[in-house]
């Protein structure tokens, strides 16, 4: 699976200023928890600049207990204590792998960097700004030029005014160990690229391309990740406040991944999105006109195929392909196969 990845800007970990509001404090903690959660998730890789701690120290934003203490005291926050929040920040700083090590790219010498919108001015200190600038250019370069594109890679900032930030800079030199950056424009040409940015979990999911994750997946983890993202986005689209972990009704059958991969490989690039939409509609009980029972024979009165108390169902993906699944007696949906039009089989 092509694993989605993110880089957290060190500024995200800095405590809001003492004059911050109650909402600032709560949002800070909630965002920290979101990113902390990503560390344990198998479907996403999370990175941080190796200069993050140094920048925070240099700008006087770490250790953050004093700052947090003032913020919590000023706003009467009793839901969290400073040490516990600081522990989450420490964990992120200590356990998050280094972006530079993973992408084998360390530093860049550049000038006349500009971003649109201007995200650099949002940094809380000079060192943080400098570190962010370095990350922005490096990510933009990687997104545009490396052979293994990291198109989904998002940069997590404290505040993201837009989803895509355009980057312009004159690049003099890059310190890296890669062998796929030969086409890079160098001085006096201007490098132009972009980075995806987000400031919360929802923004991150919106940046992700579930279809490409599905296509690149090699096992059920990738498949389930793609389904989760599609489900999350669908629910967001309906105006809900979705819970990432709320996929309790889903079970993936033994043959399902194989048949999905086969059909996605053979079909047009829009097909994975159609499969995911069909799955999401099945899980959320939508577009019921596209669903009917999968019967034992061709007649409309033929009995439904059953597996004990579980009933077989067929949902149209498009005119040619159909999703077969079990509507289980315990309320679960067990995805069985993706089949062509004339195929009415379903594995038991």
């Amino acid at each position: 699976m092509k694993m989605p990845s993110v880089t957290i800007d060190a500024g995200v970990l800095a405590a809001p200023p003492e004059y911050g509001t109650v909402d600032d404090a709560h949002r800070y903690v909630e965002t920290l928890l979101d990113w902390r959660k990503l560390l344990d998730e198998p479907w996403v890789a999370i990175y941080m600049s190796e200069g993050a701690s140094e920048a925070l120290f240099a700008d006087g934003l770490y250790p953050l207990r004093d700052n947090l203490k003032k913020l919590f005291a000023a706003n009467g926050i009793v839901e969290y204590d400073v040490n516990t929040v600081a522990r989450v920040v420490d964990t992120l700083l200590q356990l998050t792998p280094s972006f530079e090590t993973y992408f084998r790219i360390r530093d860049v010498l550049a000038e006349k960097l500009s971003t649109n919108p201007d995200i650099l001015r949002l940094s809380a200190g000079d060192k943080l700004q400098s570190d962010l600038a370095r990350c922005v250019i490096l990510i933009a370069i990687l997104r545009l030029h490396c052979r293994e594109p990291i198109r989904d890679h998002s940069l997590i900032l404290r505040h993201a005014p837009k989803q895509v930030v355009n980057v312009r800079a004159i690049i003099h030199e890059i310190d890296h160990d890669r062998n796929d950056l030969s086409a890079l424009p160098t001085h006096p040409e201007v490098f132009e690229g972009n980075v995806l940015i987000c400031d919360d979990f929802r923004g991150l999911i919106e940046c992700l391309d579930e279809s490409s994750i599905l296509v690149s997946s090699t096992d059920n983890v990738g498949l389930e990740t793609a389904i989760r993202i599609a489900l999350y986005k669908s629910r967001l689209g309906r105006g809900e406040d979705p819970d990432w972990n709320d996929v309790r009704g889903l079970r993936i059958g033994l043959s399902f991944f194989e048949t999905v991969k086969m059909s996605c490989t053979d079909q047009a690039s829009s097909f994975p999105a159609k499969v995911l939409r069909a799955i999401v509609e099945t899980l959320d009980g939508e577009n019921l006109a596209a669903v009917h029972a999968l019967r034992t024979g061709p007649g409309g009165d033929d009995p439904q195929q059953m597996r004990g108390a579980d009933g077989a169902m067929r949902r149209d993906i498009d005119y040619e392909f159909h999703l077969h699944y079990w509507q289980c007696d315990d309320g679960m949906v067990e995805l069985a196969t993706v089949v062509t039009h004339n195929d009415f089989t379903i594995p038991g």
Binding site: E50, G51, S53, E54, F57, Y62, P63, R65, V78, E79, Y80, D81, V82, N83, T84, A86, R87, D90, L93, Q94
Partner: protein, 633 residues
């Protein structure tokens, strides 16, 4: 359950320190800060009351702990002579019978059933005799300086009532009021004479209870069981008692008015003037009545060779009168205002004032409180120390008085488990703790099933089997996760032998038991430490109090998590108290770490599990510095 504990002048606890206890009370803090010291005072009280020799005020070196001698215990640089320990307990009551649960274990039950013993407080002070020949002995067996016992009785009809008794050691020689009672004791009444070395004070209600039996009684001394009042020594004016007894018998209840215990061997002579008065009143009822009564009185047994009539004979004579006349005669005696004065004057005219010291049970509430404490501390306080017996293939037979006692090091766990493995016990299954919000519903299963349930939850073993191997002792085997074969404890990690005694002791304990654990987390993986907190919480639901001394941040964090995850009716807020112990130069200080409904620590004390935080910051700071240096090269 213990609800308060006070210590003064004991080792590092120099200042008076009173802490409130909850069903789960946790002590944390640096080494040698005073955590164990505080717990030692609980063990000291428990081992004292469990000790068979009741004449020892406090037992410094006993079954739970060996504390040395008094001078080792008194705070260094202290100016106070006495060590003080005080506490309050709240008995659990059976919801049906309303009886105190602790006393159900007793062979007998005393108390008024409509009353409920709501709380019992006790405070003892002990010291040594540095002046005399007793110096060496009192270092090992300190003297009681004072003991205060109070009981709060909840009476649904009359409201709450507090009874107390205060006992203080006093010098008989210098206390002149004691001398007359000392003179009243025969020289061979050693216990009675010894009891007078204490002065006793009671509340008015308790005194009134005593004076229902002895109108002239004053508490003159006390016989102690360790530091609890076993028998009060009442100073009694027997002349006044005889006057009252005569009045009770002739004008009141008949012989029922005579306390049999104290008059079984004692004859009371009724003065002739009183007999004449009674006969006159009988004449008012009828001449036949007078005549019959007179005749009857003349044929009574001689009293001490004299012609006086004994009170018993007078009572018999009165009973021989026909009931209708007897009622009339008694009514006349009861209405005769001059009778009381006549009896008093004539008795006192005929004999010298006579004093006595009488041993008497303490008043009802005090006796009940005393018995509760005695039973609670001698049977319901259990202690498991930090160190475990090394794992063995076979656990040899070891003598233990209590078949439920796993031992201070868990050395009897195999035997206890084998003995009780089929015994049904009530416990909270581990499944209650699978969800963040606990739904604790007790179930009843065998001890073995309950132990296995929690071993699996803690992730240290899948099953446990115990077997009696006769004279060789007991065998204990476990199946560890993922393996079908049973192994004895020498072939599995020490986690099992660390945890098993905790589970067996706790699950087997009765409600209203206090379990004291020192560093239960030793040798345990952080995950097991975390889940062990759930086990302790499950105990509190069943009325079993856990007092835990720990260095485990994981355990504390789990308790915080449970508090945060609990719903609106948060049961853990009131069930949990955490104390952080520090040791500045002026002695141990105990600071309560308040965990709020969100699981957050309010006013986080400096040094309270912030070491790893500081280390993390130091690591990051060092790493950032090194990186900067390397880049500068």
């Amino acid at each position: 359950m213990i609800t308060k504990w006070k210590v003064f002048n004991f080792k590092s606890i120099q200042k008076e320190t009173e802490l409130k206890f909850a069903p789960l009370t946790v002590f944390t803090g640096a080494n040698s800060s005073g955590k164990s010291t505080f717990l030692q005072t609980i063990l000291l009280v428990a081992q004292t009351l469990a000790h068979k020799v009741s004449s020892r005020s406090v037992v410094l070196n006993g079954a739970f702990t060996r504390l040395g001698q008094f001078d080792d215990l008194r705070s260094v640089d202290s100016t106070a002579d006495q060590i003080v320990i005080g506490w309050t307990c709240q008995p659990l009551h059976d919801p049906q019978s309303r009886r105190v649960l602790g006393l159900r274990r007793s062979r007998f039950y005393y108390g008024r059933s409509r009353h409920a013993l709501s709380s019992v407080s006790c405070e003892i002070a002990f010291d040594t005799d540095d002046s005399g020949a007793q110096k060496e002995i009192t270092q090992i067996q300190p003297r009681l300086f004072s003991s205060q016992l109070s009981a709060l009785i909840r009476d649904p009809e009359e409201g709450d009532r507090r009874s107390f008794v205060t006992i203080r050691r006093t010098s008989i020689l210098s206390d002149t009021s004691k001398q007359k009672w000392m003179d009243a004791c025969d020289s061979d009444e050693l216990l009675a004479r010894a009891s007078l070395q204490y002065e006793v004070e009671c509340d008015e209600d308790s005194l009134a209870d005593i004076r229902e039996d002895f109108v002239s009684a004053v508490p003159a001394g006390c016989l102690l069981r360790h530091f609890l009042p076993d028998r009060l020594s009442l100073g009694v004016n027997m002349t006044a008692e005889d006057v009252q007894t005569i009045l009770n018998v002739i004008a009141g209840e008949g012989l029922r008015g005579m306390p049999q215990r104290y008059y079984a061997d004692r004859e009371i002579a009724v003065p002739a003037a009183v007999i004449d008065f009674i006969l006159n009143l009988a004449g008012n009822v009828g001449d036949d009545v007078r005549r019959a009564l007179s005749e009857r009185l003349q044929h009574g047994p001689d009293l001490l060779g004299s012609s006086m009539v004994s009170l018993e004979h007078l009572s018999d004579a009165l009973r021989s009168v026909h009931s209708s006349f007897r009622r009339e005669l008694r009514q006349q005696m009861a209405e005769a205002e001059e009778l009381a004065k006549l009896v008093n004057d004539s008795v006192r005219a005929e004999r010298k004032e006579e004093l006595a010291v009488i041993p008497f049970r303490p008043p009802g509430a005090i006796a009940e409180a005393s018995w509760y404490l005695d039973h609670f501390f001698s049977t319901a306080v259990q202690y498991l120390g930090p160190l475990r017996d090394e794992p063995k293939s076979l656990y040899p037979l070891a003598p233990t008085a209590n078949p439920s006692d796993v031992g201070l090091k868990g050395e009897h766990t195999a035997a206890v488990l084998d003995l009780h493995k089929s015994r049904p016990i009530r416990y909270i299954p581990s499944t209650a703790f699978v969800e963040a919000e606990v739904k604790a519903k007790p179930v009843t299963r065998s001890l073995e099933a309950a132990v296995v349930d929690w071993l699996q939850y803690l992730g240290v073993a899948d099953s446990v089997q115990s077997r009696d191997r006769g004279k060789f002792g007991h065998e204990l085997k476990v199946n560890v996760s993922g393996h079908n074969q049973s192994h004895d404890l020498t072939h599995v990690g020490v986690g099992v032998s660390q945890v098993l005694p905790i589970l067996v002791a706790s699950l087997l304990a009765e409600p209203d038991t206090t379990l004291v654990f020192e560093q239960p987390e030793l040798h345990l993986h952080p995950k097991v430490q975390t889940l062990l907190a759930d086990f302790f919480l499950s105990m509190t639901v069943l009325g079993k109090q856990c007092i835990v001394e720990t260095h485990s941040e994981y355990l504390i964090n789990r308790l915080r998590f449970r508090t945060a995850a609990a719903g609106e009716k948060n049961p853990w807020i009131s069930a949990l108290r955490v104390y952080f112990v520090e040791r500045p130069p002026e002695g141990s200080t105990f600071r309560e770490v308040k965990i709020n409904e969100y699981g957050a620590v309010m006013d986080w004390p400096e040094g309270f599990f912030d070491q790893s935080q500081q280390e993390a910051e130091a690591i990051l700071r060092a790493a950032a510095k090194k990186r900067k240096t390397q880049r500068g090269k």
